[in-house]
Symmetry: C2
Subunit: 124 residues, 2 copies
């Protein structure tokens, strides 16, 4: 198991356990978290722990897919909260000390498909 | 470079070049393409090539991030079409012959951020 894969497993494990000390230890002090869809940004370990600690609801993240090379990782999670499930896609980048230096988070939501130019698509 | 990384680079290169023969050669005959947000599915190499070949507009995909291990890969692309840019996230899975067997595609769109429970967020 490469190090980024192991770190992402521990990241979600600590988050689900609300173990904010273990969670914080995985993060670079200057971590930057961004959501391109909302143009939100959180800077720094203390802020980022607080952002997660205060996230409302009895949420839980289940890893659906995890791809990791030696420097980056992507997790696709089912984020369960208050009886609903959203999909979260997190791109993790790491610093030389093996801490999470940057997370770019995406939250793709359902939408109606456009008209398509070929007769090759089914719905499920 | 691991094989999945190389295959994804060739996949987007062939798509941007509209080289449908090279594109098709990267795909398993039974490839399954899914968009969870719209619950659309395309089955089979011929259908999937047609789906891409008939995609309207002068589009071009620029790889922003690429993470690959020995069995899977994720690309984050800037998908430029008709003067707009969307973000596409593709999760690739491969068969034993090194062909793309499954693609799960996500298209996260901008949205207004919800009220947040901490004073730790900036906008950019």
């Amino acid at each position: 198991m490469n190090r980024p894969r192991e770190l992402v497993l521990r990241y979600w494990q600590a988050a689900n356990a609300r173990d904010w000390q273990a969670f914080a230890e995985l993060l670079a002090e200057q971590i930057v978290y961004e959501v391109p869809q909302t143009r939100e940004r959180v800077r720094g370990r203390a802020n980022y722990v607080e952002f997660n600690r205060t996230w409302p609801g009895l949420w839980r993240a289940d890893i659906q897919q995890l791809v990791a090379d030696d420097q980056q990782a992507v997790s696709v999670i089912a984020f369960h909260v208050d009886g609903t499930t959203e999909t979260g896609i997190s791109v993790f980048e790491f610093d030389g000390d093996g801490r999470v230096a940057r997370i770019t988070d995406h939250w793709p939501a359902p939408y109606e498909p456009p008209a398509r130019a070929c007769d090759c698509i089914e719905r499920y």
